[in-house]
């Protein structure tokens, strides 16, 4: 529960972040400024923004809870689930996306395949983000009420006002620049818990000693690689195939909320460097959100619910002032999450749907107004749908599971689109839709098909494989794209071939 000094910290944070966001609104004069910051962002700001956009306030509780139950294996999601994918993105995908002058990732799919693929991918992301917003509002509001005694609606309305104002006026640049400060607050708040917690249990050696002494059930708590027959949701096969090869790449490359930041870089070098900077900061995220779970095992073994690990530590460790800082860190994660959803969804809506199907040749000013109106509409939708979550206890997990449905198929068409010149429009469309349908079937029959708990890693791998196979088979059976259409969209094909060296797309 918060004391007087905690309230001072939280209010100072809220006022400061809103002022900062509104300051950057002065740089927004066109739709390009609003959606892509006029392509002016430096690598360090984008790198920090990518990291903080990816971490929600819920992760502090959920990941530390998973760490309490299963140990550091959950850290795979930030280490293996980020670093290789971010390097692949930095050196292969991002330069092509940036040089193509894209606004959205579905726009690449549209140019590489056709409007059908673009629209399916874009609508899927819009629907996901729109419903995710309400779910995040409610889940985080409930969590903050439990942890800090802060009323649910107060958290939601504060977030809506602060984030809504600076995103409405400042667009992506306000989103990214506030993220820089949000990340610093998140790191300081998270590090304070870890530092005090480690001190409490006798340092790293004390932590290892105490957990090892608990005996059976805790012998794998310090192992990242778990056997295939593990009872945890993280067998090494799922981590390698589902997470490293598919989900991580799909998330870091195909997710509009991540990729849009790189597209706004001031140079192609900054675009690449931003991803590597993000990978560097990602290496520290497990320390902040996973270690509290391990510390709780040592300090408070035998909790019935692992998700009580973080709340228990907060109650037992944090002095006045630091509670406020941690609360500010939670709010920072929530606000960053919400602002990245807003900016990416309104860009998808305006560029892939509105500009494409509703009004094609409008003025720049018109699209800026549409983007801002969409921001408001999305916020209102999020607030209205937030309490619905209260009637569906499993909806947070369900919405996150929905994400794993289409990540594999989207990545399969992106991968073949950039590396295989022979991939065709029909191939991409059938691969995408067939892959998503496969995810749905595997999810429905998961109890009879899979042996591990919550097999989303396997679902994303197999839907990726099906998407890949369908794209290949249908592409081979359909007419290839003309070579000139592929220039700048396929790896190693910067310009149309000349001099008869290569006559068609199949060479």
């Amino acid at each position: 529960m918060l004391s007087g000094i905690d309230y001072v910290v939280v209010i100072a944070y809220l006022v400061g972040i809103m002022a900062l966001g509104l300051y950057f609104a002065r740089f927004v004069r066109s739709a390009d400024d609003f959606f892509l910051s006029g392509r002016s962002l430096p690598f360090w700001a984008i790198g920090m923004s990518i990291v903080v956009s990816d971490i929600g306030a819920m992760d502090f509780v959920a990941v530390s809870g998973q760490a309490y139950r299963y140990g550091i294996a959950v850290g795979n999601f930030d280490w293996l689930g980020s670093v290789p994918a971010m390097l692949l993105a930095a050196f292969v995908f991002v330069p092509y996306f940036w040089k193509a002058g894209l606004y959205t990732i579905p726009e690449y799919l549209g140019r590489r395949y056709n409007d059908g693929v673009r629209t399916v991918a874009s609508l899927t992301w819009i629907v996901f983000f729109a419903f995710d917003l309400g779910v995040i509002f409610w889940a985080t509001g409930v969590m903050l009420e439990t942890l800090m005694g802060w009323p649910v609606w107060l958290s939601i309305l504060l977030t809506v006002v602060v984030v809504g104002l600076y995103t409405y006026f400042g667009g992506l640049i306000a989103d990214v620049m506030t993220d820089v400060v949000q990340m610093i607050i998140m790191f300081v708040g998270g590090a304070a818990v870890v530092f005090l917690g480690l001190h409490h249990v006798g340092g790293w050696d004390g932590l290892v000693e105490k957990i090892t002494a608990l005996g059976q059930g805790y012998e794998n708590h310090f192992k990242l690689i778990q056997p295939t027959d593990t009872k945890t949701p993280y067998p090494w096969t799922g981590i390698l195939f589902g997470l490293t090869f598919v989900m991580a790449n799909a998330y870091m490359i195909g997710n509009q909320a991540i990729a849009q930041r790189c597209l706004a870089a001031r140079s192609v070098w900054d675009a690449k460097a931003s991803m590597i900077t993000g990978a560097f900061f990602k290496m520290f995220i497990p320390v902040l959100i996973l270690f509290p779970g391990l510390i709780a095992v040592a300090a408070h073994p035998g909790l019935e619910d692992g998700d009580q690990a973080m709340p228990t530590l907060i109650r037992s460790l944090l002095p006045p002032g630091l509670s406020g800082l941690l609360f500010a860190a939670f709010l920072a994660s929530l606000m960053s999450n919400v602002s990245s959803i807003l900016t990416s969804t309104v860009t998808l809506w305006t560029k892939d749907i509105y500009e494409r199907f509703i009004r094609k040749e409008a003025s720049d000013r018109h699209y800026l107004v549409v983007g801002r109106c969409a921001t408001l509409a999305l916020l209102v939708f999020g607030v209205i749908t937030a309490p619905v979550s209260d009637f569906f206890p499993g909806i947070y997990v369900a919405v996150q599971t929905f994400l794993s449905f289409f990540q594999g198929p989207v990545f399969s068409v992106l991968l073949l689109g950039i590396f295989w010149r022979r991939a065709t429009a029909w191939g991409g469309f059938v691969g995408l839709v067939g892959g998503i349908a496969t995810s749905g079937v595997l999810f429905v029959f998961q109890a009879s098909l899979f042996t591990i708990e919550d097999p989303f890693l396997y679902v994303s791998w197999w839907s990726f494989v099906v998407g890949l196979l369908l794209t290949v088979v249908v592409s081979l059976a359909t007419k290839p794209h003309p070579a000139e259409r592929l220039a700048g969209l396929v790896y190693g094909w910067e310009r149309p071939p000349t001099g008869g060296r290569c006559e068609g797309v199949t060479c």
Partner: protein, 78 residues
């Protein structure tokens, strides 16, 4: 008639159950080494693309190697 056990074995990677955990850990380390080699093979002209006056610290290969070293050590230790 669909062989459900065979399908389950395939979907759940039971065909890799015999791989020792040490070998699995080594596979992840090898993956990092392969990525490091691939990064090394990128032509320098692509690394400095977009810079007017490149300096040595602009070399993104060094940045990538630094991050890969961090993750390699992490997976060696745990």
């Amino acid at each position: 008639m669909l062989n459900l056990d065979g399908l389950k074995g395939l979907l759940n990677f039971h065909w890799l159950a015999g791989v020792p955990l040490v070998a699995a850990q080594a596979a992840f380390l090898v993956l990092f080494v392969i990525i490091a080699m691939l990064v090394l093979s990128i032509p320098t002209v692509h690394i400095h693309e977009g810079l007017e006056r490149p300096r040595w610290w602009h070399n993104l290969k060094l940045w990538a190697w630094g991050v890969l070293l961090m993750i390699f050590v992490t997976y060696c230790l745990f």
